[in-house]
């Protein structure tokens, strides 16, 4: 593969049952780039969080779409998750994004973990809120690790599991 940028795009209906396709494509792209198993697992969650938000918060009806763009850079992957729904105040929500580490169980707020997890699991998270929401997730390739994690993994072998 050439060192210039390669782009893979996926477009799915903004419905919960399609989000697994985003994970599947992310897996394919990230494994191709040589990301470690653990990094891929982290990115799967981050991408799903961005898709969850598009499904839950962006659209009022069932006809919206989510466009994903996987940019394979020499030393990083950039994943852009775009919806065309209503916007929100990212700065404000980002400030409130927090884990449950300092909360007691009875006070723990359910929800609000999505942005926190994206931030915790990726190297960089940017959010643009023009014409919907665009979440830009970046993870850098650490070339020293994970070189042996993806042997003989294929969409064929998936299906042969019990």
């Amino acid at each position: 593969m050439k060192e210039f940028e390669q782009v893979v795009q996926l477009s799915i209906p903004a419905k919960a049952e399609f989000i697994d396709l985003a994970r599947l494509s992310l897996y394919g792209v990230a494994a191709k780039m040589g990301f470690s198993y653990e990094d891929i697992e982290d990115m799967k969650v981050a991408v799903s969080e961005a898709c969850n938000n598009a499904v839950l918060h962006a659209y009022d009806d069932e006809t919206g779409r989510i466009d994903l763009r996987f940019e394979m850079q020499p030393d990083a992957i950039r994943i852009i998750v775009k919806d065309y729904g209503k916007s929100f105040n990212y700065e404000q929500e980002a400030k409130q994004a927090a884990s449950l580490h300092h909360q007691s169980l009875d006070a723990a707020k359910i929800g609000g973990l999505g942005l926190f997890m994206m931030q915790a699991l990726m190297d960089q998270v940017e959010v643009l809120t023009i014409d919907g929401t665009e979440v830009i997730l970046t993870k850098f390739l650490n070339r020293n690790e994970g070189e042996h994690n993806h042997e003989f993994i294929s969409s064929s072998s998936i299906q042969e599991q019990p």
Binding site: R23, C51, I110
Partner: protein, 121 residues
């Protein structure tokens, strides 16, 4: 639709409800899990055991459900055990801070004299 990426099985024993959670617990499967787990969490006469050995994926949606189940059990002062947590799931529980609540629950159940539960993975 036939994507069996997720399944949840309930097993009722004399002193406990065991819920086996398998596959990917995400936004698509959350409702199925909630529909089975919530009524069982309301039964304070039995220990609630959630068995996660075959859970392959979780995100904030699933973690949110765990938090609300733990809350409910705390309100009822009824024991709940989360068992056989795969390492990659544990990582996310630690990252988000929910594992603290599991530990707290475990302490509570132990104080109440529940017999220690099998934690081998």
């Amino acid at each position: 639709m036939n994507t069996k990426l997720f399944d949840v099985i309930h097993e009722e024993q004399s002193d406990r409800h065991v819920i086996y959670v398998k596959g990917e617990l995400d936004l698509a499967s959350a409702e199925q899990f909630r529909n089975i787990a919530e009524p069982l969490a309301n039964d304070k006469t039995k220990t609630l055991v959630i068995y996660l050995k075959d859970l392959t994926y979780i995100d904030s949606t699933g973690i949110g459900i765990f938090v609300s189940l733990l809350k409910r059990r705390q309100q009822l002062q009824a024991p709940v055990l989360i068992e056989n947590i795969p390492p990659k799931i544990q990582r996310l529980f630690d990252l988000t801070g929910v594992s603290r609540f599991f530990a707290a629950e475990r302490e509570t159940t132990k104080q109440k004299g529940q017999k220690a539960n099998d934690e081998r993975v």
